[in-house]
Structure formats: C-alpha cells, structure tokens
Symmetry: C2
Amino acid sequence: MRSSQLREKLSASGLKITPQRMAVLEAVHRLKDHPSTEKIIAHVQKAHPNIAVGTIYKILETFTDKGLLSKVKTEQERMRYDVVTQRHHHLYCAETDRIEDYMDEELSAMLEEYFRHKAIPGFEVKDLRVEIKGHFLKEQPH
Amino acid sequence: MRSSQLREKLSASGLKITPQRMAVLEAVHRLKDHPSTEKIIAHVQKAHPNIAVGTIYKILETFTDKGLLSKVKTEQERMRYDVVTQRHHHLYCAETDRIEDYMDEELSAMLEEYFRHKAIPGFEVKDLRVEIKGHFLKEQPH
DNA sequence: GTACCTGCAAAAGATTTGCATCTTT
DNA sequence: AAAGATGCAAATCTTTTGCAGGTAC
C-alpha cells in the first residue's frame, strides 16, 4: 500500500498525520500474520528508534478506536492486531501461534443466509466470523 | 452441579482433590457469563480468604491444561473462562462485556458439513466455532 | 512416604498515565 | 494560535516464579 494511501486513511479518520502514526500504520500493513504489540514495536523502532513505546500503545489504541485496526483475540497470548478490510475468518493453529486470515465468500454468505432466517431471541446479529482451529500441514502431499 | 460430581471431574482428570481446587471449580460453575480471573478470585476469596491468588492462577492453568476449562478470547479485556461442555458458539455484545453461550446444533452441523466437502489447502480443521457479534436487545417486543 | 499442591512474596511483563514539550492544521 | 500528539518515566496491573512447608493419596 502506498504511503499516500496511508495518509488518506489517517485523514479520512480525522487523525493528524504524524511520522509516528505513519510508521505504525506502515508496520501493521507490512507485518502479516496479525502482529503482536511487541512485534509492531520492534518493527517501528528498527527504523525509528526514537519513537517511544508509550506512543505506540497510544497510537494502536487510537487506530482501534477509529476502526483502522481491530484487535484479534488469542487464547494464550497478548493482544494482536489485524488491519481492517473485508469480512474474513481466522485459522488458528493449535500448535504454533500462527493466525491466518481465511477468506471464503461462500462461507460468509451461507452464514448470513442462515441468520437471516434464524433469529436469536433477544439478540441482534451484526457480524459473523468463524474461528477455525486445527493445524497447518507441514508439507503438501504430492 | 453437585459437589460429588465436581470431585469426580477432578479425579477423572488425574488431579488431587484439594479444597482450593474445589473452590475454584465451584466458582467457575456458579459464575455464569464467562468470568474473568478477577471475578473468579473475588468469588473464591469471599468464602475462602486464605486461598492465595497465585494458587488460583495455578489452578486455572491446570484446569485449562486438563481440558476442564477453556479460555475465551475477548478483544478488550483480560482472559475469561468457560466451563468445557459441548460444542457451542459465542454471542459477543459490542456495547457491554457480556459473552453468552449460543447452542445451535443445526449451525454446528451445517459448518461441519461444509468443511467436510470444502478443504482448506494446507490446513486441517479440528474445531469450528462462530463468533456472533451484535447486541442484546433491551426488551422483548410484545 | 512420596508426589503433588499451596502460600507467600518477589519478580517479571505489559499497559497506562501525567505532564511538559513539540507538531500539525 | 489552538488543538492535538509525542516523549519520558513513574505507576499500575496482571501474571509468573521459586521455594519452603503442607496435604492427598
């Protein structure tokens, strides 16, 4: 994603464009696999050692508030982040800490359809996401 | 759930029956809505002020290892726990911190069926769970 | 009796906060 | 110029750890 696009994202959210925010935004876009706060801090500070840890925490909170990022929940560990894009599901590996996005329009559509017909008493459904747990296969059979 | 049943649960998992473990097990069974560690500690210590916080952490970890409890992931907060029973899904309220179990055999079956036919390349599916986000309705229409 | 548990208190981490200073708009 | 951000360091909070003593089996 180009730098100008990142700038736009910030402006569109009503945030001032600062080098610190640009650095964090670039980091979360570059780091795949749902980086932890720790990874984000390391990545940002590699290029900008002068950016304070406290600032990065504040920026991540701001981004989450503004909907630029979402927090991903993990069972064992600390917070991890996800760039907000379209609806997707998550693959969780039971053995490693890997989390991967899983796009599946058909699955999303099936679930939406399901809940269009089946109401949950006393609850209004806004978003649906499947947690798929299992493990990544070491090698593809051939 | 009766005390004798809780004892059995411990024995069946190869754990020694101690008053501390009984207290924690009772607490997580009594506290609905996926209690946080904090809530569990408060509940346990109300009746047994002498049980150490460190011990409760250790017990929760042991229970999770043995499969008596599972950790529930939340976006905003700390760890929360869930008594392991049958497969179920979770309703997350966007406004409050409420998490509720949602049993739906039909939904579970539909997902299983779906993934029996649709393989995810390089990933073996072990468990499926739907995160349903939205909000609880204040009042039932009548 | 032995293996396993617990209590305690210290340590380790992660995240938050307050405030003076600096930047973006 | 004003509003909003940042840097720094201290404070807070949660969770983990080590170990001596205790308890269930």
